[in-house]
């Protein structure tokens, strides 16, 4: 069985990365949603990586600098730091990478990955920043440090203008009628304040990614 605990790797200067699945077969870089959506999507992403591993696909799941297990503070980072981190991740895998699987705001960084791109519900930098600002206003916190996420001008500025480049296979939920190659039933876990899992959605997505990766 390939199912099991993920392997712990690192990239760059002590940044964290997990590896799932076989070293043979297609290898994909997983780009997580940004900010609070990353935490909300954790269970879905773990289930997706295990599902891909079960389908013979290797997955590499980095925490971007300043997120997750990163030793660096988010407020010290710029958009360039994130863009430059992605090739470091690819180099650290030590294997040829077929392309990327990006969720939500992760799609804003997948253009840096050489190869093919698959996306779930991509969003724009402007939308992510609007969400952060409104959440800060709603919680009575300072909009300059929205919901505990302090962004440097070097991150917030370029992020506001960032949009996902075309040329990707795009999957959305059936409730979202923006352009997509495939629509699937599921819970938008990235929108729910209480962490939620959706095992059926993870399986649907793993099936589509596996077929796409092996095509």
């Amino acid at each position: 069985m390939t199912r099991g605990a993920p392997r712990v790797h690192s990239y760059g200067d002590g940044e964290a990365m997990l590896g799932f699945g076989p070293a043979s077969g297609p290898q994909l870089l997983i780009l997580q949603p940004l900010f609070e959506e990353m935490n909300r999507s954790r269970a879905l992403i773990a289930a997706l990586c295990r599902g891909l591993a079960d389908r013979g696909i290797g997955c590499w799941l980095p925490d971007l600098p300043g997120t997750g297990e990163s030793p660096r503070a988010l407020d010290t980072l710029t958009w360039s730091d994130w863009r430059e981190a992605v090739p470091m991740v690819v180099a650290a895998t030590g294997v040829p990478v077929l392309g990327s699987v990006a969720l939500r705001g992760g799609a804003l960084l997948d253009g840096v990955v050489v190869g093919r791109h698959w996306r779930l519900a991509p969003t724009s930098g402007r939308s992510l920043l609007s969400d952060l600002r409104r959440s800060a206003l709603a919680s009575g916190s300072d909009p300059a440090t929205p919901a505990g996420y302090t962004l440097s001008p070097g991150l917030a500025g370029p992020l506001a203008a960032a949009d996902a480049a075309p040329d990707a296979r795009t999957v959305r939920l059936v409730s979202d009628d923006r352009p997509a190659n495939l629509r699937v039933e599921g819970i938008p876990v990235w929108r729910r304040p209480e962490p939620q899992a959706d095992a059926a959605l993870a399986e649907l997505l793993a099936d589509d990614i596996a077929a796409w990766a092996k095509a």
Partner: protein, 89 residues
């Protein structure tokens, strides 16, 4: 559902389902008179943030912070009227 046939109301119901976790049967029962903010327990001030952003993204409008008030979110009818006016329909 496609962009060509879905009404603004259909799209708003879908967004409420997604953002608030309202089930399909409850979402279908929402009409113009359904009260929203202050009446729907899932719609707290944090959920409003997600609701507004999804409305912007899926209905292709921009909402200023000072346009958001109790009146706009009072009922499903007032929210859909706001969106319709924004779209210039």
């Amino acid at each position: 559902m496609t962009g060509a046939t879905a009404t603004i109301e259909d799209q708003l119901r879908a967004i409420l389902r997604d953002v608030l976790g309202v089930d399909a049967a409850r979402a279908e029962a929402i009409d113009d008179d359904t009260p929203l903010f202050g009446a729907m327990p899932e719609l707290d001030s944090m959920a409003v943030a997600g609701l507004l952003t999804e409305i912007e993204d899926r209905l292709h409008i921009l909402i200023d912070d000072d346009e958001v008030d109790g009146e706009m979110l009072e009922s499903f009818g007032s929210l859909s009227a706001f969106v319709r006016a924004k779209r210039g329909a």
